[in-house]
């Protein structure tokens, strides 16, 4: 509860900070301070030192894992603000409002990590989505940004409709807004003796959640929106918002494996493979790094879906690690990308010569995204695959996944090639030393988690 309340309040604080401080960079620092505050509040609850206790009438259910996930998102946001804060300032005039919206989104994140029942899920998702529609459209003069905002909004509200229909059907079947209680499972291999309405509702809900986490074939908004949105906000959308969607998704469906029967796995594998296929294959041809990253985020979603596919302890741990690894790497690479004058691959040519630190950290981030050992991304992918194997899932789908992972190496490496092996004068905007320090910190964090993932998992989580 701490995080929900504090983030909402801090959002209001940020709203008003715009009135009192005209200097934009002060606002950034305030935001960073507020984030630290939020982190503190969340950690207080994590270590059970001080918790705001409110009777939620069973609408929210707090568990250690969710709170830990909050910590991850808050830290990621903090890093994001520290790295890209300057670029948020440059996006438009309403800087304080942007930060306020970010805090509201974090409020939505906190709700989604603790929802109990479909009502809070719905509200959480909307609280997270509506500010995003706005953030997407903040570059008002830019037609791409406008277009992205409208597309995102239209498709987002459409998916909300689908989701609500799903919720309604579930309600019709079970009489309440909890899921998965009225379904009676029967012998393996046959269709469970479930309420038809409820199953249909679950499928609709599933589709809507797929939309939110941009799983194929509901992913179409992702490349366009990520591409059109101002890069700073793409970074935020692609990381914190996305992994939260996953967390909610898995929280929602974690017990559905047995209940929905074997057919469920087929649908899920279909979605996973389609996601991996679309994300990885399409990314190969992209010339714009930003758009490539958009597709790569779809591909990463495919991997995260394995957590849903396996749905066991390992996959929950894995999704935490995956979130951390993915957020770090993506925030890092976007922070570099934002500094580039040219977002195309050729724009990165020779970056290693002009900006060795940037190139090195970008390489670490890309390697982490590609899942190469000794980076955090490896263990993230590792957990996902391991959870499927451990759950006795199909080995075939794991093999397909690793083959696509190899494809992903192809496009990630192209950026590294451009930076290190190609001739060119990559142009960047002004790079401050503190920015470099921040990047190196991110890179070290990635490598540290890559070498000793148990530090993250055991020390904080258990």
């Amino acid at each position: 509860m701490n995080a929900i309340i504090v983030s909402a309040l801090l959002g209001v604080v940020m709203m008003f900070s715009g009135i009192f401080f005209q200097n934009k960079s002060i606002i950034k620092h305030i935001a960073a301070g507020c984030l630290l505050l939020l982190l503190g509040a969340n950690l207080l609850q994590h270590y059970e030192i001080f918790t705001i206790k409110i009777d939620t009438h069973n609408l929210l259910r707090f568990e250690k894992m969710g709170i830990f996930f909050n910590t991850i998102t808050i830290v990621a946001t903090l890093i994001y603000v520290l790295l890209s804060g300057k670029d948020i300032e440059n996006t438009g005039v309403h800087v304080a409002e942007y930060f306020a919206l970010i805090f509201f989104i974090l409020c939505g994140v906190s709700i989604l990590t603790s929802f109990n029942g479909l009502l809070m899920l719905f509200l959480g998702i909307e609280i997270m989505s509506i500010p995003l529609y706005i953030l997407t459209g903040t570059d008002k003069r830019n037609l791409k940004s406008n277009e992205a905002a409208l597309k995102y909004f239209l498709m987002g509200s459409f998916s909300t409709g689908i989701m609500l229909m799903g919720i309604t059907l579930i309600y019709g079947g079970s009489g309440n807004f909890q899921i998965g209680q009225a379904i009676v499972s029967s012998a393996a291999g046959t269709v469970p003796n479930a309420s038809f309405l409820e199953v249909a509702g679950l499928l609709l809900l599933f589709s809507a959640m797929c939309f939110k986490v941009s799983a194929a074939p509901f992913h179409f908004w992702t490349p366009d929106v990520y591409d059109g949105a101002p890069s700073v906000f793409t970074s935020f959308m692609a990381t914190i918002v996305k992994v939260t969607g996953f967390y909610a998704f898995i929280r929602l469906f974690e017990n559905q494996n047995e209940l929905l029967g074997p057919t469920w796995k087929i649908i899920l594998s279909f979605v996973i493979i389609a996601t991996l296929l679309v994300g990885n294959i399409t990314a190969v041809f992209q010339q714009s790094v930003k758009r490539m990253l958009a597709y790569s985020s779809i591909a990463q979603a495919g991997f995260m879906l394995f957590g849903l596919y396996a749905s066991n302890d390992l996959s929950k741990e894995g999704i935490l690690l995956y979130s951390a690894a993915y957020c770090l790497a993506t925030i890092g690479i976007f922070a570099v990308l934002i500094k580039m004058k040219d977002y195309t691959l050729d724009g990165f040519n020779g970056l290693a010569k002009t900006q060795p630190v940037l190139a090195f950290t970008a390489t670490v981030c890309l390697m982490s995204l590609a899942g190469i050992p000794l980076t955090a991304g490896f263990f993230a992918k590792y957990y996902m695959l391991a959870s499927v194997v451990k759950a006795g899932g199909s080995l075939m789908i794991v093999i397909v996944a690793v083959l696509f992972a190899a494809v992903s190496v192809y496009y990630y490496l192209r950026v590294i090639q451009a930076m290190y092996f190609k001739e060119g004068e990559a142009e960047t905007t002004e790079i401050t030393p503190s920015f470099k320090v921040g990047l190196v910190f991110v890179a070290i964090l990635i490598l540290l988690i890559g070498a000793l993932p148990s530090v993250l998992l055991n020390y904080f989580y258990f």
């Binding site: 998916s159 499928l203 179409f220 929905l260 057919t263 796995k265 899932g393 080995l395």
Partner: protein, 644 residues
């Protein structure tokens, strides 16, 4: 004394090392002394060992260390000294010494570094050859076996600036390798069945081998012998090997290395005696080679080529001997052949030396008066090889032919035909070279001279040996137990002798054959000398059979067409088509497929919200359909993703 046998290969090895490493720093005379001296030392030790063996009559195995020892296989680095190896030791070191001596003079025009290289190679060759004959198991023999092949390669390509020589060297090595593969397979077979490659163990446990095993092993070993001893179909390298310096031809390609096959089969005589099928094969191939090579030799004009084909032919006789079970005869012929063929080559070398590297006999003639010693020794050698009694060749060849008759009279008649051809081409060679008028250029005429003492001394020694060498193998018909070589070797061949059914010819029949063959050969010799004495070189081209013979039956061309060219074609096909297009193309194809599908799938991202929503709706419909109906699609998907 036999315990010191390791000294025998050690000296040449030291010689090789000193000459090889110090070739830039040593003077030529020093190199010559070291090279020749090391072999001489070996020879002396060999002689001592010989008398030791002769006295005790036992075979000794000296193990130096364990070469390879793994579970189930022990291959010691061991030497075996017995009657057979001692004979070969004497031949190798003895003739080796003479040829080293000869080389110091023959090669005197070389630069010191190359001179050193030459002697290093020669020493290395002697070392390898000694390993070959001394080894107490097939693996050590194989070490020497390949080692001599290597030295042959190095020496044929000694003048490495000439690419033709290099090709010849390569050809020799590769053809030897083909044979070596057979040898190796045979060794593997032995190890597989018996778990050992040591002679004594193999012969002790020979009863564990099935008849098929024995036939296969012996055949494969014989393939090895084919390569090394230049038998059909692997003989073509030997004539080409004449690219090397002439002493090398004398040592390697006449006296020693090419007889390794005979040594090996003689060593393995027990197995061969147990495999009559292989014996027949050997006899037929040997005989065919003898005749075939003799026909080619009839029409060759290069002095060394004639001798090369003659060597091939003589080797064929030796294999005939092995094939009919006359192991002693074969070894005997190895020995006599070593004497007279080395002599012939050295004589030829002397001639070539005198003629300033002219090798075409049609451009020689009348050298008798310029080079008396060479002439006399050469004539003696020719008589020996032609088989005129009492020269050495007569006894050894006769022994083989008699044994062949005992086995199958056809062998004898064909073999005799070969012997007649031998007489013809040898005396054609002799006549064209030494008799008649000088047909060379004026410049050559002014320079023709007898060779220095270092060259003529070996000639004289070998000539003596060629003349009297046969006396150690006087046939039984002349005197009981006169065949001292046979007696000496008895322990080696005792087991096969026990297997073979002895059927000697009647003494009268034997006399008859000897007489007739001697008369025929003498007739041929007279005919040849008289017809070629007045020879004048004509420019007319040979036709018909003569042309066929002059071009060696076009065997090289045939091999080129049926083996080399197809192999090259396949290699090119593999390289340019399979590798580039299919295998690498397949790999790249996957990459291309990915980028192609990338471009196609990308088009789905049309930018149209309507299309996006359409696909989403359809996906939902499909999901519901999959869940609620056991559609064919879902059935297959189910099968596909069933748990492993």
């Amino acid at each position: 004394m036999s315990k010191l046998v390791y000294l025998i290969p050690l000296f040449p090895l030291l010689g090789f090392l000193i000459n090889g490493l110090g070739r830039k720093h040593l003077s030529k005379s020093m190199i010559g002394i070291i090279g020749t001296g090391s072999i001489l030392a070996s020879f002396i030790v060999s002689v001592l060992v010989f008398f030791d063996v002769k006295a005790t009559g036992t075979s000794t195995v000296v193990t130096l260390f364990n070469f390879i020892q793994v579970k189930g296989l022990l291959i010691p680095f061991a030497f075996q000294v017995d009657q057979l190896s001692v004979i070969f030791l004497l031949i190798i070191t003895g003739i080796g010494t003479l040829i080293h001596l000869y080389s110091t003079a023959y090669m005197h025009t070389e630069e010191p570094a190359h001179f050193g290289r030459y002697f290093a190679y020669l020493n290395l060759f002697i070392f390898s050859m000694l390993l070959l004959v001394l080894g107490a198991n097939y693996v050590i023999m194989f070490i020497g076996w390949e080692g001599v092949g290597l030295c042959s390669y190095l020496l044929i390509g000694y003048w490495f600036k000439n690419n033709n020589y290099n090709y010849a060297a390569k050809k020799a090595f590769v053809m030897n390798r083909i044979g070596d593969l057979g040898f190796l397979l045979a060794v593997f077979w032995l190890i597989f069945k018996l778990g050992t490659a040591t002679y004594s163990d193999v012969f002790l446990h020979v009863d564990k081998l099935s008849a098929f095993d024995i036939t296969a092993i012996t055949t494969l070993l014989f393939v090895g012998a084919m390569g090394k001893s230049a038998q059909i179909p692997l003989y073509t390298w030997l004539p080409d090997a004449m690219a090397g310096p002439t002493p090398v031809s004398a040592l390697i390609h006449a006296a020693t290395m090419v007889t390794a096959g005979i040594y090996m089969i003689a060593r393995t005589n027990l197995l061969y005696s147990m495999a009559p099928g292989t014996q027949t094969l050997i006899a037929i191939i040997g005989l065919a080679t003898a005749i075939f090579a003799a026909t080619i030799a009839l029409k060759q004009n290069d002095i060394k080529k004639v001798l090369a084909y003659s060597t091939v032919s003589q080797l064929g006789y030796m294999f005939l001997g092995l094939g009919v079970g006359a192991y002693t005869g074969a070894v005997f012929h190895v020995m006599t052949h070593a004497f007279f063929k080395a002599l012939l080559f050295l004589g030829a070398g002397s001639v070539i030396h005198a003629m300033h590297h002219e090798q075409d006999i049609t451009k020689m003639g009348g050298l008798k008066k310029f080079m008396p010693i060479t002439h006399i020794t050469f004539l003696l050698a020719c008589l020996a090889i032609a088989g005129i009694p009492p020269f050495s060749g007569f006894f050894s060849k006769d022994e083989i032919l008699m044994a062949a008759y005992a086995k199958n009279p056809i062998y004898y008649y064909v073999g005799l035909g070969g012997a007649l051809m031998t007489a013809f081409y040898m005396f054609r060679l002799y006549t064209l070279t030494f008799l008649g008028g000088f047909r060379g250029t004026q410049a050559q005429a002014s320079h023709v001279h007898e060779s220095p003492i270092a060259m003529t001394f070996p000639l004289i020694v070998l000539a003596i040996l060629s003349v009297i060498g046969g006396l150690i193998g006087i046939p039984e018909v002349f005197a009981k137990d006169a065949h001292s070589l046979g007696n000496f070797l008895t322990p080696i061949f005792a087991q096969s002798a026990a297997l073979a059914t002895e059927h000697h010819l009647e003494a009268s029949q034997e006399y008859l054959f000897m007489g007739v063959s001697t008369l025929l050969i003498a007739g041929i010799i007279f005919y040849t000398i008289s017809s070629y004495k007045k020879y004048q070189s004509t420019e007319t081209e040979n036709t018909g059979l003569a042309k066929l013979l002059e071009n060696k039956w076009y065997i090289d061309e045939l091999y080129d067409a049926i083996i080399v060219k197809p192999l090259n074609a396949i290699a090119v096909f593999f390289k340019n088509i399979i590798e580039k297009n299919i295998i690498d193309g397949g790999v790249n194809g996957v990459g291309k497929l990915v980028s192609y599908s990338s471009r196609q799938i990308r088009l789905l991202q049309s930018g149209q919200v309507g299309n996006y929503v359409l696909i989403m709706v359809l996906a939902i419909v499909v999901f519901i359909l999959i869940w609620f109906n056991d559609l064919t699609l879902s059935y297959y998907l189910n099968r596909l993703f069933k748990n492993a």
